[in-house]
């Protein structure tokens, strides 16, 4: 476990939104697997923490849910982005890129200074 990073506070929601944008409507398990795969198995994700995050996003109106049938014919609850969710994703992604860019400048070897 030691070399795997924990999910930082607040980034999980962004990952969920991005995953839903890329994959389209999907169920909790699918989202969890996808996040792990995307991170190149570098993230250690307790799948259980996903559900409160999904609930929070749904309460905020960023995603909506309905029951459906999975690719393997299992009953599952499917989540999809709402319009508000798409906007939130754009905004947060931009903020995040900005933040990482700033941090990257700090951390990269000083050239001009």
């Amino acid at each position: 476990m030691g070399d795997k990073a924990d999910v930082w506070q607040g980034t999980l929601a962004l990952m969920v939104l991005k995953t839903l944008q890329v994959m389209g409507p999907s169920h909790g398990y699918g989202i969890a697997r996808r996040i792990e795969q995307t991170s190149g198995n570098l993230l250690s994700l307790n799948y259980g923490t996903l559900y409160p995050a999904l609930l929070k996003l749904e309460q905020e109106g960023a995603i909506s849910s309905e029951w459906g049938v999975s690719e393997n014919n299992r009953k599952a609850k499917f989540y999809k982005l709402t319009r508000a969710g798409r906007k939130q994703l754009d905004r947060e992604a931009q903020e995040w890129e900005q933040a990482t860019a700033i941090l990257a400048r700090f951390l990269s070897p000083a050239e001009e200074a």
């Binding site: 307790n46 259980g48 393997n72 299992r74 599952a76």
Partner: protein, 877 residues
């Protein structure tokens, strides 16, 4: 907005509106199945696959918990859990819960009802814009605290003052409405053209009067009350502009006032204008106007008073004869209530507070007992690590439940009780009759409830935590701690004291009521039917026309079976306090000096026989005392005594009501002004001896019939007789004489009933308080009693010991109670009708009642103590 909707969803989750738990379980189950499927495909055994899936999820229950915290608001959920727990606790001791709720209901209910009544009558602004600027203006005469204005003085005050933005006048002017079905007697008011603008209330439909409507010679116009419009005109808007006939004169309806407009009194059904002519301003002694003014903004009542006093002084100099000693007084419209009705309400307020104190003391005792019984439970919980805040929250939840239940039922009780109290709202208050149940009452009840919840939730919790903390486990339930015991005794003693105050106050008021009721009114009250036939003018201007009507009605009524006698009079005793004239004896003009006036009433022959008033000497007026004969008068004993103390009054002459009169008879005094007021001497005049069109206001209106049958049974026949005499004549105010006299003490009687109810509750609660405390003490000392008995104490010793403890508390409460009651009685003195505040009978009866109650309360615990089985008692623990 976003935040709010999230909060709302979470709140719904907390209150269980969203069925989240089952859905999450289903979702997680589907998650596990899918994960297990994948694991199986990668070659795990079924058990491994499932176990790995659960592990990866991070535990099923932990996930559910995290989810729940997100879905709800943990604080509220904890509170709800506390409340649910408290609810179960209370269900386990329903006796305690019901008693507590009942105590809160009694305490708050009594106070909410009385508060609403008092607020309505004494505090709440009257339903006019800026009501604090509305001021009544009255004349002040020697011997009278207030007197109506004469039109001339009204005009002078109005033109000379600078304090008022407007000054208006009005008086009562009932008239007969004919042409709308049955002829109807209506209560109405004559007003000056500026009255409505002074009050600053506009009409609901149409308009109110302008100054033009009030000019001499202007066509008749009338404004209707909402109630009259609804009942007599079915709320038809087309009535505007139509003519209606009042006392046979046409009036055009110009407006309808709103439903909550009542002025000058609740009974007023219509308004017409005075249309004063110059002649109306001649007589400065004709006091029949009430004045009401609106102060200019920024002018104080005191400033207005001193200005009007100055003007009155100037008028005295200007008209030294007519205005001799006449001053002017002002009073806020809000404060124009009789002292009696104010004191009545204040007494009820005090009584309700006493009930609250007693109920709370009982409640406190109840809760103390309960927390004592739970001491062991709390000690265990505290030592197992429950924190104090949690325990406090739990106590609060319980008192919250009890308080809300009690407060809600108290509002219910108050709402039901209010209409019963509405007779305590004085008729003169220009508002509706029944105080409304509104936000003010709810807020009052709510704040009382909150105080009780916090006081009785926090205090026992703190107390329980403190005692339970220090080795509460070691201490048995039996030793309650001395401090605790003392507190409970003090509470019971306070209950006894408060109930003694109530007992004595209501005892004194009962005595006062009896005393007033046993006052001899001076006439017979049983078997007498009275009704009002107000003859309209100018139709009945001629005295002879009226006489025909009276004679016809009286002759026919006297023929009815069972009727022993019947007569007509201007106004019956206790129905009209006006009609007071100065008496001129020996040519000296004794205008308005105190005591030199008498009430004038015109009567038909037979009035004294009908009402059982004794004729002391001389004779009754007779049919022969006609207009062309010398004007005669029958006077009351007090009249004769005043002017001819040692001489024979018969045959004497005096000037009265614009004519010289010769005394032909002396009769017993009656209480014209009511049972509790002193009345002027009475002068009765022959109904025939008045010039046409004079003093028409004094034309006899009240028919009195004495019969051996139940008075009401005569009514249909009498109605028929009056209809035959004049088919358009109205009949109103049908009452028995008993009802008229009973009306004098009605508000007292109602107040007393409320007070008796409060007192009964109080004394019962005090008795129960003593009973509860002693039972507890006895159960605590059971072991001690057992030992004493084993060592040879006899049963009577134990019995006396318990009784003594009850008696000590009773006496400890009784003594301060008696002192407080004396103080209260002094405050009540104006209501006591002459009963002394330190009335021995009342005080001793109350003390005895209090002791008997406490004795009864102590008896059961004492008997239980006596029955203690020594061996069983010592074996406990």
């Amino acid at each position: 907005m976003l935040k709010l909707s999230v909060l709302w969803r979470r709140l719904r989750g907390a209150l269980g509106a969203a069925p989240a738990d089952d859905e999450l379980a289903a979702e997680l189950e589907s998650h596990l199945q899918m994960h297990t499927d994948d694991n199986l495909r990668s070659g795990m055994t079924p058990e491994q696959a499932r176990r790995h899936a659960i592990l990866k999820l991070g535990g099923l229950e932990q996930t559910k918990q995290a989810y729940r915290e997100r879905n709800t608001i943990p604080f509220i959920e904890a509170l709800l859990a506390d409340v649910r727990y408290a609810w179960r606790q209370l269900l386990r001791s329903p006796g305690f819960a019901m008693t507590a709720v009942l105590l809160i209901t009694i305490g708050i209910g009594a106070n909410a009802a009385i508060f609403t009544l008092v607020d309505f009558v004494l505090i709440r602004p009257l339903p006019f814009p800026e009501p604090e600027r509305l001021i009544k203006v009255m004349e002040k005469h020697p011997g009278y605290s207030m007197m109506e204005l004469s039109p001339a003085n009204y005009r002078d005050l109005k033109s000379a003052n600078t304090s008022f933005a407007a000054l208006a006048a009005y008086n009562s002017n009932p008239m007969n409405l004919v042409g709308q079905g049955e002829p109807l007697r209506l209560e109405g008011a004559s007003v000056t053209g500026n009255l409505f603008s002074t009050l600053d209330r506009s009409a609901l439909i149409g308009r109110y009067f302008s100054e033009n409507d009030d000019k001499a010679g202007a066509p008749g116009t009338v404004v209707l009350s909402y109630a009259l419009w609804q009942t007599e005109f079915e709320g038809d808007r087309n009535v505007l502009g139509k003519s209606i006939f009042l006392d046979n004169n046409p009036y055009t309806v110009i407006g309808i006032m709103p439903p909550d407009f009542h002025f000058p009194s609740r009974e007023t059904q219509f308004w017409t204008t005075f249309k004063f002519q110059e002649g109306d301003y001649q007589d400065r002694g004709n006091n029949d106007l009430s004045g009401i003014g609106r102060l200019k903004p920024g002018v104080s009542l005191t400033a207005a008073r001193s200005e009007l006093t100055l003007i009155a002084a100037r008028l005295q100099r200007q008209y030294p004869k007519e205005n001799k000693d006449v001053s002017v007084t002002v009073i806020g419209l809000r404060d124009d209530l009789s002292t009696q009705s104010k004191v009545l309400l204040k007494v009820l307020c005090g009584a309700a507070l006493c009930v609250l104190v007693i109920a709370c003391a009982n409640l406190a005792n109840l809760l103390l007992t309960r927390s004592l019984a739970r001491q062991k439970e709390l000690s265990i919980r505290l030592s197992l690590g429950a924190n104090r805040r949690h325990i406090l929250r739990q106590f609060l939840s319980e008192s919250l439940l009890l308080g809300v239940a009690g407060g809600a039922s108290a509002v219910g009780v108050a709402t039901v009780a209010l209409p019963l109290l509405s007779r305590l709202v004085p008729n003169s208050l220009p508002t509706q009759q029944v105080p409304p149940v509104d936000l003010r009452m709810l807020l009052f009840a709510l704040s009382l409830t909150l105080i009780i919840i916090i006081l009785f939730g926090v205090a026992p919790a703190l107390w329980a935590c403190r005692t339970a903390g220090f080795g509460g486990l070691r201490v048995g339930v039996r030793t309650g701690g001395a401090g605790h015991h003392r507190l409970r005794s003090v509470l019971v003693i306070a209950e006894v004291a408060a109930s003694v105050v109530l007992l004595i106050s209501s005892g004194l008021l009962i005595r006062a009521l009896w005393k007033v009721q046993s006052t001899d009114p001076g006439f017979r009250t049983n078997g007498i039917l009275t009704l009002h036939t107000a003859l309209p003018f100018p139709k009945y201007d001629k005295t002879s026309t009226r006489d025909q009507f009276y004679r016809k009605v009286l002759t026919d009524v006297r023929r009815l079976p069972g009727v022993t006698d019947a007569a007509y009079i201007t106004a019956l005793p206790m129905t009209w306090r006006g009609g007071i004239w100065p008496v001129i004896v020996g040519g000296r003009d004794q205008i308005r000096t105190e005591g030199n006036s008498a009430s004038a009433r015109f009567v038909t022959p037979g009035f004294y026989a009908t009402l059982g008033i004794a004729i002391r000497s001389g004779r009754d007026v007779s049919e022969l005392d006609t207009a062309d004969r010398p004007y005669v008068a029958v006077v009351s004993e007090s009249f004769a005594r005043r002017y001819w103390p040692d001489e024979q009054p018969i045959g004497r002459h005096f000037g009265f009501a614009m004519h010289d009169r010769e005394i032909i008879g002396v009769v017993g005094d009656v209480r014209v002004r009511g049972l509790e007021r002193t009345s002027e001497p009475q002068v009765y005049l022959s109904y025939q001896q008045v010039p046409d069109g004079w003093l028409t206001y004094y034309a006899p209106k009240d028919l009195v019939v004495h019969s051996s049958q139940a008075p009401q049974s005569l009514l249909p026949a009498i109605r028929q007789i009056i209809r035959t005499a004049d088919s358009t004549q109205t009949i109103s105010d049908v009452r028995t004489m008993e009802e008229i006299v009973g009306g004098e003490t009605e508000s007292r009687a109602i107040q007393m009933r409320v007070l008796i109810a409060f007192t009964a509750v109080a004394i019962l609660l005090a008795g129960l308080g003593i009973y509860g405390l002693l039972s507890f003490v006895v159960s605590m000392r059971e072991q001690e009693f057992g030992i004493r008995m084993a060592l040879g104490a006899c049963q009577s010793d134990i019995f006396k010991m318990v009784l003594r403890q009850g008696a000590v508390m009773a006496v400890a409460g009784l003594l301060p109670g008696l002192a407080l009651a004396y103080g209260a009685a002094r405050l009540l003195e104006s209501l006591l009708a002459g009963v002394r505040p330190a009335d021995l009978l009342t005080f001793s009866t109350a003390a005895a009642l209090c002791l008997i109650t406490t004795l009864l309360g102590s008896l059961v615990p004492a008997l239980r103590a006596v029955r203690t089985d020594p061996t069983a008692a010592m074996r406990v623990e």
